[in-house]
Homo-oligomer: 324 residues x 2
């Protein structure tokens, strides 16, 4: 069994080997740029780790693992146009550095390139991996659409929100794991258990992201603290705060959301103060731990030696105690 | 052998059967809308016709044929955003009827849906059809990028232009034919010959489109005559006109391209007059017929009875004598 760090090194080196020097450069340079921005590369690592649970021959899972990472970066590229986000990982986004049309078309090619990598899955499990990938890709678009729709809806429930982040974030982690398991030769029960592990890990991971946006450290988080608060994003924290706030508290919180602030930091401070008063941080942390425990239970059900599952459990712990 | 009309009826009915009623509707309604706009459905018809050359079992080629048509409509949807085109086939485009974000995301899902249909190719030829489709899809994006790039370049040559339309238009016709042939059980030589037939037909088809834009009849053409002239699009006609015009003619033509007209019809009339004087219509028609003859030669090389090839030849003739 390789460690997460060993797997990460393989992924980093394989992503660097991908060739984007072809013509027309106006189409391919933004792809190289996007992939050079880095990121945690968790999804392709999950594919190789899941594969590695069942075989030492993880080479065969590298292309599909990269396909999943290229697809993930494609969704960020198109989401950044839709969200008018100018900065990602400290650098200008593609639509900002080039323009919207470039970002649309380069994204389209990235999606095709992702499929070309997925198509390199060993032929005996090409069809199930391809179908899993396409179904997942569609769900991610559905999640993005719900995310957009929720901006205009006042009464988004916690369950609506959890379903949205399941689609937008969790299913790709789940797909990455199940694809790796299938390629590694896992039985159906284990492959599905790893899928569910990915769903629970993904939900916990996104709740951690919501927490970091408010309670993270700007220097290590890599983006501005309070971004979700400034755009009134209906996160798990805000949904619960709106539900719990009564009387004067509700008035104050509603006012914070409606008011236009000259100093954005003031809005962040006021909303955070209300979150603290209403103790929604703990509600979010508890839910995160609920999903973490579910994920660990999924791991326990795998028909494998306990030692083999250790790396995945360690990774889950690391992701949920992270500061960035 | 089924006729083109019989095949067209199958395609129309199968496209209507595709279900886009799922949630979130904001994502799927624009797809249903796009596909309800109609169009000639030539590409899926070519897949079924090519398959039908080798087998009566054309049912197995229907899903991939639809995948190619869904992909084609996806490219139109995203191209319309990039070109800021407000009208297609007499109706508002998706980004106009909804908005840019909707058009981007619905387009992304269409591309995935196209792959889901391609993935229904019989498993014994799934891998070659999938690889052919992905390579083609990338070439189409490259063609679109060259088309955008050419807007800012003065010295686009006739060869540059032909390569651009090969990528943007011809390869998908070629892919449609080759995929159908592979599914039908054609040998490699025939499958490649049909691919080349598609390339030559596609080039002739696009040159016909260039001609119709200037010399077509508005009522039957379905879009405004002179659209290419108004946006100074470097078509085969304009590239040759700029090459052939000398002295005062060159000055006049260059002026027409630079000047801003209060009455657009005046610009169309003046450029068309210059095209007539320089006889570029005949140059374009000759090139179109050159590719048509090449396409017919491709058909002749197929290892099949002459009667079987008749429907494809008739279709090629019909496409190149069309008024819309």
């Amino acid at each position: 069994m390789k460690s997460f760090n060993e797997i990460s090194e393989i992924i980093t080196s394989e992503i660097e080997k991908l060739d984007w020097t072809m013509q027309p450069s106006g189409l391919y340079e933004p792809i190289a740029y996007t992939l050079s921005m880095g990121g945690k590369r968790i999804r392709p690592a999950l594919t190789l780790m899941a594969c590695n649970l069942y075989t030492d021959e993880i080479q065969q899972a590298i292309a599909p693992a990269l396909g999943i990472e290229v697809f993930h970066n494609f969704t960020l590229l198109h989401d950044d146009i839709m969200d008018r986000a100018d900065i990602r990982r400290g650098r200008p986004t593609v639509h900002k550095r080039w323009d919207d049309n470039t970002a649309i078309l380069s994204g389209d090619v990235m999606q095709i390139a992702a499929y070309q990598l997925i198509a390199q899955t060993p032929v005996d499990c090409l069809k199930p991996v391809l179908d899993l990938f396409s179904a997942t890709a569609r769900e991610i678009c559905e999640g993005q659409q719900y995310d957009v729709d929720f901006e205009a809806i006042d009464n988004v429930s916690a369950d609506d929100y959890l379903e949205m982040i399941r689609l937008k974030t969790a299913v790709l982690l789940a797909c990455a794991l199940k694809a790796g398991a299938l390629i590694g030769g896992a039985n159906t029960a284990d492959a599905n258990e790893l899928y569910n592990f990915g769903i629970n890990l993904g939900l916990a991971f996104q709740l951690k992201d919501d927490l970091l946006d408010v309670y993270g450290d700007e220097a290590t988080f890599g983006k501005k603290i309070g971004g979700d608060i400034l755009c009134n994003k209906k996160t798990y924290l805000l949904i619960h705060a709106l539900k719990l706030a009564k009387g004067a508290d509700f008035e104050e919180l509603s006012n914070c959301l409606k008011k236009s602030y000259e100093q954005p930091d003031m809005k962040i401070a006021q909303v955070t103060k209300m979150y603290n008063k209403l103790k929604v941080k703990k509600i979010c942390e508890d839910k995160m731990m609920f999903y973490f425990d579910m994920a660990v239970a999924n791991l326990e059900k795998l028909q494998l030696d306990t030692t083999k599952k250790h790396e995945l459990k360690k990774l889950a712990e690391k992701l949920l105690s992270r500061n960035d």
